[in-house]
């Protein structure tokens, strides 16, 4: 395939708006190619979109679907062409997730959190999402074995468990959610801060985070630890954020990437002592990022309207349900986690929601380096991913932000600095935040760029970046990004003008990390005991078999790779 004459933005390779041809051969970008030609003259050509943090599969999605028959009524699309029927807005059915991402030009999406014991279900749902390449991040933050290893200060054994857990769940990376809090929630409480010991385990969140980061680098995993902070969603929590980031300054990344990725930073950049004096501390967080290079983040932008929050942060969801008087699903996940699901609505008239809206944008606009900030809504916690184009328009246009601010409470100007920010992101910066940076953050070398050898994932938008001024015409930008002219996945056109024309089965990335045999043997002794005494299932039934991944891609890592 040859994509002719498009205006290409490929920031990972230093291509910034050059008119050039892209050739795809055998599913990857090549020097030359034959076959069909796509005329992309006057159009924006980008690498396929990469979303590094989105809740798209697993039991919590189903809990959301079951709790929200009202959500299922929105976004129904009948059986048409290649597409199966679709339902849902914040919690769509699995095929709809694939079609909707593909229509926007996204080709790779990573599920943000799966407990090991529930990973089989997660993979079954990932398999039901067509088109996209996928992966899942595995939860380790409140896991008994992890906390035991941390308590024993046994890094080799902890590394062995992480490697084993990734294999057991066919997971891609280490996700940590409110470390220790999931276990404390089993006793009806939470960990209050970084140095508040977890009940019965005598380890602190700080120790869990730090040791998991060390294990992550010892194993040379493609992705860094992927961290959801303690105290998330609470006023005044920005101090926890900065304290946690400081804690990780001594971690030396084993690969060319960050030492820690902080997810949905918006929910952790809160000032104030309560909801009444709630304010944005995004400038402080952005300032920290401007002065330090060991961390990346994603926005977690909120979208006004309906959302379904779902997280392994069980106590947070209890607080949400109480505060908002909403439906609540609560779940205890054996020796591994807790979790919760709460639907909610972000309202323009609410001062708190308005400040949250401002914080997400401030983080992206005040952090100078776009490689440090990924564009996400923490789908569907901040709002559904189909609203990304609206977020892009807000980031690219000061005018659009002012129009939106006019609809929000006046106090916003006192509680945030959004009104004073003139910065408008350019095409290259958006290409970084939605393509190049997520791929680099995840450690996916063949994604997020269009160099020779990269995956043949390309999105083509019907907008000429040489002619359109996004600052004054945000509506054109939003429209173009909402519906790609062409989305190409591994050299095959999958979406054209919003119509799905190809439904290839995507691949699933997982990390196959090796550890020394003696470490694994020591781990097995204590694991066997746990399965005999505490788990509801046998170890032999616990592992996700290879058969659950129809197109697995095992990324090699491990202690040997590190050496």
């Amino acid at each position: 395939m040859i994509i002719k004459g498009g205006v290409v933005y490929d920031p990972a390779n230093g291509v910034l708006g050059e008119e050039m041809d892209i050739c795809i051969d055998g599913g990857v970008v090549a020097e030359a190619g034959g076959g069909p030609t796509i005329d992309a003259r006057g159009m924006l050509v980008l690498p396929g979109g990469v979303d590094a943090h989105s809740h798209i599969a697993g039991p919590k999605l189903n809990a959301g679907r079951i709790m929200r028959p009202d959500d299922g009524r929105i976004g129904t699309e009948p059986l048409r062409g290649l597409c199966r029927p679709c339902t849902g807005y914040t919690v769509p059915n699995s095929p709809a997730i694939g079609y909707r991402y593909a229509r926007m030009g996204y080709t790779t999406v990573f599920e943000a959190a799966t407990p090991i014991i529930e990973s089989r279900h997660t993979h079954e749902e990932l398999e039901a999402i067509p088109i996209l390449d996928k992966g899942a991040l595995t939860l380790f933050g409140s896991n008994w074995t992890v906390m035991e290893c941390v308590g024993e200060k046994d890094l080799p054994k902890l590394s062995a468990y992480v490697a084993w857990g990734l294999r057991a769940s066919r997971g891609y990376g280490v996700k940590i959610v409110n470390p220790g809090g999931g276990e404390a929630w089993g006793f009806g409480s939470n960990v209050k801060g970084l140095h508040d010991p977890v009940p019965e385990f005598n380890v602190t969140p700080a120790e869990i985070i730090h040791e998991l980061a060390r294990a992550n680098e010892r194993l040379c995993l493609p992705h860094s630890i992927h961290l959801h902070f303690n105290n998330l969603g609470k006023p005044g929590n920005y101090t926890t954020a900065i304290e946690t980031l400081d804690l990780l300054k001594d971690i030396v990344p084993s690969r060319d990437r960050q030492a820690v990725h902080v997810t949905h930073m918006q929910f952790s950049a809160y000032g104030g002592t309560g909801w009444r004096d709630f304010e944005s501390k995004a400038p402080e967080i952005a300032d920290y990022y401007n002065k330090n290079d060991h961390a990346t983040m994603d926005m977690g932008q909120i979208i006004f309207g309906s959302a379904t929050t779902m997280t392994a942060d069980g106590p947070l969801e209890y607080a949400n349900a109480r505060l908002l008087h909403q439906k609540w699903s609560n779940h205890d996940i054996e020796l591994e986690e807790s979790s919760g699901v709460v639907p909610l609505v972000y309202i323009r008239g609410s001062p708190v929601n308005a400040v949250q809206w401002a914080i997400g944008l401030e983080l992206a606009l005040l952090t100078e380096d776009p490689w440090k900030v990924l564009l996400t809504t923490d789908n569907p916690n901040g709002g559904p991913f189909v609203k990304y184009p609206g977020v892009i328009a807000l980031l690219m246009s000061h005018k659009r932000r002012e129009e939106e601010m006019a609809k929000l409470p006046e106090m916003l100007s006192k509680r945030s600095v959004i009104g004073s920010i003139d910065r408008e992101l350019g095409w290259a910066e958006i290409a970084v935040m939605t393509r190049a940076a997520p791929a680099r953050v995840l450690g996916l070398k063949e994604k997020g760029h269009l160099g020779v050898g990269a995956d043949g994932d390309v999105s083509i938008y019907e907008i000429d970046p040489r002619e359109v001024d996004p600052g004054s015409d945000p509506a054109l930008v939003e429209r173009a990004f909402t519906q790609a002219k062409y989305t190409i996945k591994a050299g095959e056109v999958v979406s054209r003008d919003g119509e799905i024309v190809g439904i290839p089965q995507g691949r699933t990335f997982w990390t196959d990390a090796s550890v020394p045999e003696e470490d694994m043997a020591r781990l097995m002794t204590s694991l066997k005991e746990k399965f005999e005494k505490y788990y509801s299932i046998q170890m032999s039934n616990y592992m996700v078999q290879e058969a659950y991944l129809s197109r697995p891609v095992a990324v090699r890592a491990g202690v040997e790779v590190a050496q």
Binding site: M67, R68, P69, D70, D71, G72, R73
Partner: protein, 258 residues
């Protein structure tokens, strides 16, 4: 004025989905255009003329001046008058489920009885049923937190369970009895029940429910005082305190029993 009369050509066991049957949908169409409108018979797409005979006086007219007369048994026909904004629907017999769902204006008059979900999530207009109505009259649909928001429903017979569940506005009058849990999670509407009912106002936070016949008061309601409304004395309760509610429950004194 334009009158459009529809008569079923046959009776069906499989339900018909007919959201096209509103004054909004038909007023501006010629008979030929109406005949080709899509309806669903079960999971089969079909045309209006395959199921109903159409008779009309005159050509296209404004929506407000259009009356649709449903002559025959429409008890298996769902979603009649869904989202209508004006005009009239007169059903000479029974109506199927979801009649007048989400309507914002106009009138529906049912000479027979209506089925479940009558006027669910309606926002305006009025519905009158001479016979009985089914369950979930004027309620929210599954999972929704706000049902009927405006307009009025009058049921001269009796209504089923969960009358006005999750309603946020508007009024419902039932002259006969109502089933269990009328006004459950009521967030602002007015419900009056002439006859008996059971456990009214569970989880209500706002709005008002009055019961003329016998009923059982939930323990989440607190007695306030006796009030007189239109010549009748009522015992007034506030609740549901389980939800810290400020709803009002009025029980007619004469007929009340525990």
């Amino acid at each position: 004025m334009r009158t459009i009369t529809l008569r079923p050509l046959a009776s069906h066991l499989v339900p018909i989905e007919a959201e096209a049957l509103t004054a909004d949908g038909l007023a501006k169409l010629s008979v030929e255009e109406m005949e080709t409108l899509d309806l669903w018979l079960g999971n089969r797409r079909t045309k209006l003329c395959d199921l109903f005979a159409i008779e009309t006086d005159g050509g296209p007219a404004p929506i407000e001046e259009t009356t649709i007369i449903l002559d025959g048994d429409f008890s298996r026909v769902k979603r009649i008058g869904e989202r209508m904004s004006a005009g009239e629907i007169h059903a000479l017999g029974d109506l199927g489920m979801h009649a007048g769902a989400g309507m914002s204006g106009g009138n529906i008059l049912v000479k027979g009885s209506a089925s479940d979900w009558l006027g669910r999530e309606m926002r305006g207009g009025s519905i009158e049923v001479k016979g009985d109505a089914g369950n979930y009259v004027g309620s929210g649909y599954r999972g929704e937190r706000c049902g009927m928001r405006g307009g009025s429903i009058l049921v001269r017979g009796s209504a089923g369970v969960f009358l006005g569940e999750h309603m946020c506005g508007g009024s419902i009058h039932v002259l006969g009895n109502a089933g269990d849990y009328p006004g459950a999670a009521n967030g602002g509407g007015t419900i009056s029940i002439g006859g008996d009912t059971h456990l009214p106002g569970a989880e209500m936070t706002k709005g008002s429910i009055s019961v003329g016949g016998r009923t059982t008061v939930l323990p989440g309601f607190q007695f306030q005082d006796e009030v007189e409304v239109e010549g009748l004395t009522y015992r007034r309760y506030v609740g549901d305190l389980v939800e810290n509610g400020k709803g009002e429950l009025l029980l007619a004194l004469a007929q009340q029993s525990a």
